[in-house]
């Protein structure tokens, strides 16, 4: 071959030089568990559906969401969103408004009339679900998707359980609840209302069911003995909320005192205010720090003019005079009586001291163990009796709708495994995507969108919904505040910052891969990954 003067070799590409052999550490793409997903009691893939929302594909987002939870519009209103509490963005500015976006997606789906995925192919198996609250409805939905026939029984005249009979309409409009329940029923559920199950074994055997899910909730308002005159009006918060939901509100008078410090106490006080009480006072034996109610509920209640009597117990109630005893907290934080008393005028007293479960239906099922008033269950949600599962407020739990929905899902999967004779799946969890793994330089500053609230005056007198939803523009804004912790969102950073062009871009939604022939293992990609989705692991040499 003819060569130019003094040239003895053909020109070659540096591709011949496999610099990957220099490497002592190799980058690998990982998916970590975002803290929101980790915290979600219903096991939602929150980061996943925010990701789908970001380009505006709300249907894909909603479909991913309902894989785990068939109640986005309800959740977007009543969930206490532990996801936001654990959101990594808190350490940057403010948590992503996950709850608001969930509500937007839920409402959007109702508007568009999207239906839930159809029931799975018929398995020929039948499951009895007792109780049509969040746990029962969630279990029903997931069982239907797995192809099982479901008989859903409730003693109330309508479906929804505590979502209907415990949560006031100003927090959860009934049209929203009805729409999301109707979608589940439309999957082909055998619904039996106004029917109280009093012997679970008999009901199961007579109906020929393969498994049972008990989700009877905690419907009995706890009472304490308070010396009271005949004319004194005392009722419990559960009954009050139930009657309001039935459109049969009791007469409470002008001055209403609520005794208790949980969310139900706040619901009762806010409901009393809407029923015409001019003074709604909450009496609680500890202080604000120790109140079990959620902070934002308390804020909303205070905004509406509810007043608080901290460190007080109700001693007696005679005519329209309530005697309170002042308390003090001892070193362990327990309230101790002080012997100091004071009077408080009251037309009625509402007890919100917790709820108990009516478990008479398992009297004839001795293997089902009850401890401290609730049913003991395994991690699979199965009780001591094979084939009987339980969840929701009837088992040891924080007693929120979201937890109950999570129980329903888990129980449905366990029931499916049980009736097909398999071991329940125990899906592994990814490692947590912690804040220190993020490179927050790449995220723009973006404060959170506040959901508008009804004018105070209006919400004191009506049961209209207090918190309004986001519109499409600010829902999208909010979704895009997600940091995508621990999961690649295709920002092209690794592809761009590699000095050795050793990252291959695979195209939309296909992410990237490393070209280990040339990757020298410098680790810039891992350092500059905004969401911490690249690990450097030692190379075996």
């Amino acid at each position: 071959m003819e060569r130019p003067f003094a040239i003895t070799l053909d020109v070659g590409s540096s591709h011949a030089n496999r610099t990957g052999s220099w490497r002592v550490e190799r980058p690998v793409y990982v998916d970590r568990l975002p803290p929101c997903n980790d915290a979600c009691p219903a096991g939602e893939d929150i980061q996943g559906w925010l990701y789908q929302s970001e380009p505006g594909d709300y249907e894909a987002a909603w479909r991913l969401l309902v894989e785990d939870n068939p109640f986005p519009a309800v959740m977007g209103r009543i969930c206490y969103h532990p996801c936001e509490t654990s959101c990594n963005r808190v350490q940057l500015d403010e948590a992503v408004g996950i709850n608001a976006v969930e509500r937007f997606l839920g409402d959007h789906a109702i508007e568009r009339g999207w239906s839930l995925p159809a029931a799975g192919p018929d398995s020929g198996k039948r499951v009895l679900v007792v109780g049509a609250g969040p746990a029962g409805l969630s279990a029903t939905y997931h069982l239907k998707r797995l192809g099982h026939s479901v008989s859903l029984v409730d003693s109330a005249p309508k479906l929804g359980g505590m979502m209907r009979y415990g949560i006031p309409a100003y927090r959860l409009p009934r049209a929203v609840l009805d729409a999301e329940i109707a979608r589940i029923v439309a999957q082909g559920v055998d619904v039996v209302l106004d029917h109280t199950v009093d012997d679970i074994r008999r009901e199961r055997d007579e109906g020929g069911f393969d498994a049972v899910f008990l989700a009877v909730g905690a419907q009995l308002g706890r009472r304490v003995d308070i010396p009271a005159g005949d004319s004194s009006r005392i009722l419990d918060a559960v009954s009050l909320l139930h009657r309001v939901a039935d459109d049969d509100p009791p007469m409470l008078g002008r001055r209403v005192v609520v005794y208790g410090g949980g969310d139900t106490a706040l619901d009762a006080a806010r409901t009393a205010r809407r029923l015409g009480a001019t003074d709604a006072v909450i009496v609680y034996r500890r202080n604000r720090d120790r109140m079990p109610a959620h902070g934002e509920e308390l804020e909303e209640a205070l905004d509406e003019g509810i007043t608080m009597r901290w460190l007080s117990t109700v001693n007696s109630f005679e005519d329209d005079r309530l005697v309170l005893e002042k308390m003090r907290l001892d070193d362990e934080g327990f309230p101790q009586p002080t012997g100091e008393f004071e009077d408080l005028g009251a037309d009625s007293l509402i007890l919100a001291l917790g709820q108990d479960t009516d478990l008479s239906l398992i009297d004839e099922a001795p293997n089902v163990v009850v401890d401290d008033g609730v049913v003991e269950v395994l991690p699979t949600m199965m009780t001591g009796e094979s084939g009987i599962f339980a969840g929701g407020d009837a088992v040891p739990s924080p007693r929120t709708a979201t937890v109950a929905i999570g129980h329903g899902k888990r129980a449905a999967r366990s029931i499916d495994a049980y009736i097909s004779g398999e071991e329940p799946d125990q899906p592994g969890r990814h490692e947590l995507a912690s804040f220190d793994r993020l490179n927050t330089w790449y995220f723009s500053d973006a404060p959170r969108t506040k959901r508008p609230e009804l004018e105070r005056a209006r919400r004191q007198s009506t049961f209209d919904e207090v918190v309004e939803g986001l519109n499409e523009e600010n829902a999208l804004f909010e979704a895009r505040r997600c940091l995508s912790c621990g999961n690649c969102f295709e920002c092209d950073n690794c592809f761009g910052v590699c000095p050795d062009n050793a990252v291959i871009k695979l195209g939309p939604s296909e992410r990237y891969k490393f070209d280990y022939d040339f990757c020298k293992g410098c680790g810039i990609c891992a350092t500059e990954c905004p969401c911490g989705a690249i690990d450097m692991i030692p190379e075996r040499i």
């Binding site: 070799l9 053909d10 020109v11 070659g12 590409s13 540096s14 591709h15 011949a16 030089n17 496999r18 610099t19 220099w22 970001e54 380009p55 505006g56 330089w441 790449y442 995220f443 723009s444 500053d445 973006a446 499409e472 523009e473 600010n474 999208l476 804004f477 895009r480 505040r481 997600c482 940091l483 995508s484 969102f489 295709e490 920002c491 092209d492 950073n493 592809f495 761009g496 910052v497 590699c498 000095p499 050795d500 062009n501 050793a502 871009k505 195209g507 939309p508 070209d515 022939d517 040339f518 020298k520 293992g521 410098c522 680790g523 810039i524 891992a526 350092t527 500059e528 905004p530 450097m536």
Partner: protein, 342 residues
Amino acid sequence: MTTQPIHFYQVGSFAVGNRLLDDDGRTVQSDPNRTNSLDSGHRACQGCGEALGARYAIDAAMRASQGRLVAVNATGCLEVFSTPYPETSWRIPWLHSLFGNAPAVATGVAAALKVKGRSDVRVVAQAGDGGTVDIGFGCLSGMFERNDDVLFICYDNEAYMNTGVQRSGATPPAARTATTEAIGSEAGNAFGQGKDLPRIAMAHDIPYVATATVADLHDLEDKVERAMQVHGARYLHILVPCPLGWGSASSDTIRVARLAKETGLFPVFEAVDGKVTGVSPIRHRTPVEEYLSIQGRYAHLFGKHPRTDIIARIQAMADRNITTYGLLAEEPADIDPKGVDV
């Protein structure tokens, strides 16, 4: 200048690309079909800032010139690691002659193309800081003075890295190099004015001068694009950290460059016809310690007997830059809540 409106995308305009951005908002580097002017297999160290900066700049110049580009290279790391005979990592027409004559060779290439009537082909010359501020300085000043139609890019890693980290005219005060050792009371490089080449270039009143870092790709690409839109002598000065010479972790190359800008030690600005027309404001103002302490070349300032006096002098340099160039944004970035396209 080079700022972009802040959108409420997850990553605003700071990441290389983003699936939510339309093509105009993405960088050249996010394009799977980018030129990769400097190809894989080059022998730069792990985490080399210069290799990164060169690909960023030349890929952008390739896009701006529709692929009609000739590059002239001075001797230095970039030349050595990209072209060990008979291999080359360059996927563009590329020439190397001597250490000191790259600006003159580029002038010649531009003149030859003019003679041949090839006004469509553009010329870029590139060199490290040694080839620019010291050895090639005479030729470069001549190229500026004649206003030859060349974009000259200096990849500044603040010393002669290729030959073993010797001090250059661009080495900053107090930095340890092989020739400015960390011994004695005034350890490291001496304090002085150094050679601030962007300002020297501006003094030639050439049409375009700009500085950039490998930490802000959008800004860097915008500046190359702008430089390519004008004819005449243009100068781009890119800060490219050197993990080997600076004693920083190979994974920290971009972080170090970002801190150089955020501390104010390396002002990022552009100048048209000898006048500063825009600066990249500091986003999170950072004390110089944070920049210095992650580099081995400043290790003698820390440890048991920290040299707070020297650190304070370096901080004063940063503060002077901040004042001189107005690097602190007066107003917070304009947040446009409608920055989402529904």
